[in-house]
């Protein structure tokens, strides 16, 4: 038995074994030592048995810990890759989608591989539960296995493709690294990095840093990539390299295509420019509304949609509705601003000096996603832009509503303990969408939500009374059904909150219901809403926003006169109010948005690594996107 000495038990075994061997095996046994032999043998046997048990336990524990660490690192790594790939997809959207070209083959291959690896890890995690895997996971496990098998062939081909495409070797460039004593901290020498003329050179440089990291074993390493610093395990450097190599290859291709794009742009007809503007709007709205698509985490929810002029875009299924709405709105947007007219300039720029400093090739990309700003003070232009912004903002808000409505589906389809956590996460993340700022507390965000919902109710009421012909985007109307129900339930729950005076109500009569089962069924149907309402009230702190008027009105115990109908422009005021809050939040939130070759980076100025990231982005030519009143930067 060959056990390494790493604890006293093993040491004892080794000593005893040595004695045993010395005395009885190597011929040094003395006559009359049989008792000693037996004693020693038994002792040794027991020690070995005990140790074996300990060793196995320790090994299990150690393996588990190691495996957990491995998984954590892998997940972290995949997240990093997800992030990078998402950024790349953004970049691709700008370059590829505007041109109306197909999704790049490399991108598909890379996505395949990452999807596959991700599934592989999910399966590994679930496998660990085998034997006591909860039923709720079994279906997911089986589905993952099926998906895994299905992808396998595809992935083998993808890997072969990537290996073939990533064969370029970089050996000539010097790498400048810095490190401190505690950790290996490799960062890009910004000055040097900045001087590199091409993205491919920059990637090559990053790859060399990665090579360097690989030489250091058993320590944690950090790498800065596109201004984002990540800790990576040296264990996984090889895989990181694999992807960096892939990215390098992709960038190299984009670099060449970008040049072609600029060339084509110059030769383009006005009609094409207009088509390009249209694409810009879609992209801008896409960026305005949401972050990069989380393709890897939701492989089944991704689909490709075709825009009205035949261009394809991959989006989440849940966002299909939004895109349909956006596309249908395009005709109106076109009427709203002269800048979408084919005879107009492609771009209006607010800070022309800053714009001129951007390298030309970057400017070409930049043009495609920025179209809000103006080059001169022109009242008419400003007015039109304001209208456009308002329309855009409304669309953005519409999406928030849709997502909020989707919570209904989430609430209905998953198991409640989990669904509550999903539900709250969604509430918070969506409410957060109203005011990006961390300046607001959850309560304040919910207050904004409450305001909107109350206005929606008011709108519905007026609509029912047929007194006002007020049109809202259909998307809002659809969402409002769910929202109304939610807020009503919340208010009902809140109705029991403390009032100024105690309220007692005598029970005049207690009787059995005519149909107990009917009542039970109806209450059951409502139970998820009621639970959510109580949850929102108790856990999310919505309570302080409903006035005593609301309490009394909803209790139905004390009548108050119905307030007079409000002006027809109320819903506009709501939107303005939200817009105002939204902008206030954005301006003071400390979120700084940068545009780097079409990739959008949002940095939190209060984050400890803010300065590093800011410096890294700026020195690489990223441009800060200033926020404007009345709308978000695209």
């Amino acid at each position: 038995m060959n056990l390494r000495v790493h604890n006293p038990e093993v040491a004892r075994i080794q000593i005893t074994t040595h004695e045993f061997e010395t005395h009885f095996i190597n011929g040094e046994r003395q006559v009359g030592d049989l008792n000693d032999f037996n004693t020693l043998y038994q002792e040794l046997k027991k020690l070995i048995q005990d140790y074996k048990k300990l060793y196995l336990e320790a090994r299990d524990e150690s393996t588990r810990k190691e495996y957990d660490t491995f998984l954590a690192q892998e997940i972290d790594f995949l997240n990093l890759m997800n992030e990078i790939m998402s950024s790349l997809e953004n970049y691709h959207d700008v370059v590829g989608f505007v041109e109306g070209r197909e999704i790049k083959k490399e991108m598909e291959q890379a996505s395949n591989i990452i999807k596959y690896r991700n599934i592989e890890r999910q399966i590994a995690i679930l496998r660990r539960m085998k034997g006591n895997m909860p039923d709720s996971y079994k279906e997911q496990y089986q589905s993952l296995l099926n998906h895994y098998k299905k992808l396998r062939k595809e992935v083998i081909e993808s890997e072969a493709y990537i290996i073939e495409k990533s064969s370029t070797e970089y050996n000539t460039m010097e790498v400048t690294t810095s490190s401190d004593k505690k950790k290996n901290y490799y960062t890009i020498d910004q000055e040097f990095y900045n001087k590199l003329p091409l993205i491919t050179d920059k990637c090559k440089y990053i790859e060399l840093i990665i090579n360097n990291i690989e030489k250091v074993k058993g320590k944690k390493s950090f790498v800065t990539y596109c201004g984002v610093t990540k800790e990576i395990s040296t264990k996984h450097v090889w895989r990181y390299r694999q992807y960096i190599s892939l990215l390098t290859n992709l960038y190299k291709k984009y670099e060449a295509e970008e040049k072609d794009l600029i060339k084509q742009e110059n030769e383009r007809s006005n009609t094409d420019v207009c088509a390009s503007q249209y694409a810009s709007i879609i992209i801008a709205l896409y960026k305005l509304g949401f972050e990069a698509l989380p393709m890897i985490n939701h492989p089944d929810r991704v689909m490709t949609v075709t825009s009205i002029d035949g261009k394809e875009l991959t989006i989440l299924k849940s966002r299909l509705e939004k895109f349909e709405e956006l596309i249908s709105k395009y005709a109106d947007l076109k009427k709203l601003t002269p800048y979408l007219d084919e005879k107009s300039d492609l771009m209006v720029i607010q800070d022309i000096e800053k714009y001129q400093k951007i390298p030309e090739r970057k400017r070409a990309i930049f043009n495609k996603i920025r179209f809000f700003e103006y080059k001169k003070e022109d009242e008419r232009v400003l007015k039109e832009i304001a209208k456009l912004k308002k329309a855009l903002y409304e669309l953005c808000m519409a999406e928030k509503f849709v997502i909020f409505a989707n919570m209904k589906a989430i609430f209905k389809t998953s198991g409640l303990p989990e669904q509550m956590s999903v539900f709250y996460t969604n509430i918070m993340s969506n409410v957060n969408g109203f005011s990006v700022s961390s300046k607001y507390t959850d309560e304040e965000k919910l207050q904004v939500l409450t305001d909107i919902l109350l206005k929606l109710e008011d709108y519905e009421k007026r609509k029912e009374e047929n007194k006002i012909n007020l049109s809202l985007p259909l998307i809002i109307e659809n969402a409002s059904n769910f929202l109304k129900k939610m807020i009503l339930n919340v208010k009902q729950v809140l109705s029991a909150l403390p009032g100024k005076n105690k309220q007692h109500f005598k029970i005049l009569k207690i009787r059995k219901g005519k149909n107990k089962n009917h009542l039970l069924e109806k209450i059951k149907e409502q139970s998820s809403y009621i639970a959510a309402s109580i949850g929102m009230t108790v856990f999310a702190g919505l309570s302080s926003f409903v006035s005593s008027y609301e309490i009394n009105k909803n209790l139905g115990l004390k009548k108050e006169p119905t307030p007079p109908l409000k002006e027809p422009t109320e819903i506009d005021r709501v939107v303005e109010k939200i817009t105002q809050r939204f902008n206030e939040g954005k301006e003071s939130s400390g979120i700084i948005t940068y545009d780097y070759n079409g990739m959008i980076f949002e940095l939190d100025s209060s984050a400890p690594d803010f300065e590093d990231k800011k410096k890294a982005l700026e020195s690489n030519g990223a441009v800060e996107i200033k926020q404007e009143r009345g709308g978000r930067a695209a």
Binding site: K412, G415, L416, P417, M420, K485, L488, N489, Q492, V493, S495, A496, L497, P498, G499, K502, Q503, H504, F505, K506, I507, L508, K509, I510, R511, K512, G513, K514, N515, K516, H518, L519, L520, K522, I523, K524, E525, Q526, S527, S528, I530, A531, I534, G535, T537, V538, N554, L555, G556, L557
Partner: protein, 98 residues
């Protein structure tokens, strides 16, 4: 106090009828989750409230919960009850589908 069961119908002094959608015991008091019902005993979703059962001037009554902490504690208990009910409903719906 008169015996009271889930889904019983209470007529309050505002002459409205409420069904007992849920009921919890907390610190020696009984709390009711009331939902208003119409004359056909269909629930009126928009009128729901949490009250404490009391004796007022020798008569049975319900009282609004005025203490914030008390309200939160009781609401959490109701939250659990309705959550369980929702799970049951969700399971039934799933099994109906399958």
């Amino acid at each position: 106090m008169k015996p009271m069961e889930l889904y019983d119908i209470l007529t309050l002094e505002n002459n409205k009828e409420y069904t007992i959608a849920n009921m919890v015991e907390y610190k020696d008091s009984t709390y009711l989750y009331l939902i208003e019902v119409d004359e056909n005993e269909d629930i009126i979703e928009n009128t729901q409230t949490i009250v404490r059962r009391i004796i007022k001037d020798g008569e049975e009554a319900v009282e609004k919960v005025t203490n914030n902490e008390e309200y939160k504690e009781v609401a959490k208990l109701f939250f659990d009850l309705f959550k369980d009910l929702a799970i049951e409903e969700s399971d039934n719906t799933d099994s109906d589908k399958s």
